[in-house]
Amino acid sequence: MADVLKIGIAEWKQTTAPNRLRTAGLGSCVGVILYDTRLQLAAMAHVMLPDSTIARKNQTIEVGKYADTAIDALVHSLKREGATRLQAKMAGGAQMFQFKYENEAMRIGERNAEAIRQALKVHRIPLVAEDCGGHNGRTIEFDVATSVLSIRTVSVGTKEL
């Protein structure tokens, strides 16, 4: 029986085929998946913020919350399972509201996506496909067996990457 593993805000999980990984209601957050097709192994994180250095001192860091720590955690965990050829897909990073006067904090979606691209570069992991930005919320589901990422939005329906 295949399970669908649900990933909440700032969480990350890893699984193997035939299971699927799912995160619902992505807004400015980005859902990123690293996977190894040979091992039928994948991990997904629901990244909330671009950079862990903004966390307050003495605070326990939730690794899935930040782009940098999330990518590090996924890479480390997948490699421990023997992954050698990792690839990545991601979706999210929307600007849900449009204000007359925007400040930097409101472009957080864009910054999340960019931070993940940078972190992937550091680890030399190819970003195979992405669906980021726009003004729509997304629910995404990754099928580990096929590496297909389904993306559902309220206005556009479902598409596959």
């Binding site: 209601g25 807004g27 400015s28 909330m48 006067y101 919320g137």
Partner: protein, 199 residues
């Protein structure tokens, strides 16, 4: 977390704000409006999508930015069907957000403007401090996406928001609204000081 005393005070704030909102909405729709507050509490932000009907619940929302002594955001969420009902009442004909055109958008913005403004005024009166507000922004989408956008925009390092559960009775029809007040870190401190009487 807050004491029972502080929770009661917050509920009182929710009641005052809802009273203002009911009056304003009633004048706007020319219908009797009654709003009751069922609960008001501080909730961890990760619970919020569940509280508003699950992350994928299709909702209509209004987001108002607060500036001045108290900074943060007020977010109001309604199930899409309930929001459509309000817009239909306002424009005097059945309306669906499927065709979210200029008419529907401006009507929903107007509803949001009136309601969020009422809560902001109540907050300012209660804290005896002027609160400046901008024109609110609206979005109709998944509840989880909206809540997380707001949470990350306002206070990336805060882990709780004031959550007010309300029931709206408009022209005998009941709809559930959710009002979230997300103060910035400094503003939350000021409010707590005020709650404890030494602000």
């Amino acid at each position: 977390m807050l004491s029972e005393f502080e929770q009661d005070l917050l509920k009182e704030l929710g009641n005052i704000g809802s009273g203002h909102a009911a009056t304003a909405l009633s004048a706007m729709l020319s219908k009797p409006v009654n709003i009751t507050v069922s609960s008001a509490e501080m909730e961890p932000i990760t619970y919020l999508p569940e509280r508003v009907g699950g992350p994928e619940r299709h909702v209509a929302s209004v987001l108002l930015e607060l500036d001045g002594d108290i900074r943060g955001m007020i977010l109001i969420l309604f199930a899409v069907e309930d929001a459509e009902q309000m817009v239909s009442t306002l424009i005097g004909m059945p309306y669906s957000f499927d065709s979210f055109d200029e008419l529907g958008q401006s009507a929903w913005e107007e509803v949001g403007n009136i309601m969020s403004g009422a809560y902001a005024r109540a907050l300012g009166d209660w804290l005896q401090t002027p609160i400046m507000i901008q024109v609110p922004a609206t979005a109709i989408d998944m509840a989880g996406s909206i809540v997380e956008f707001v949470v990350t925009s306002v206070q990336p390092e805060e882990d709780a928001a004031l959550y007010i559960d309300t029931t709206f009775m408009i022209d005998q029809k009941v709809s559930a609204g959710h009002v979230l007040f997300l103060p910035t870190h400094g503003s939350l401190k000021r409010i707590q000081e005020r709650l404890l009487g030494n602000g």
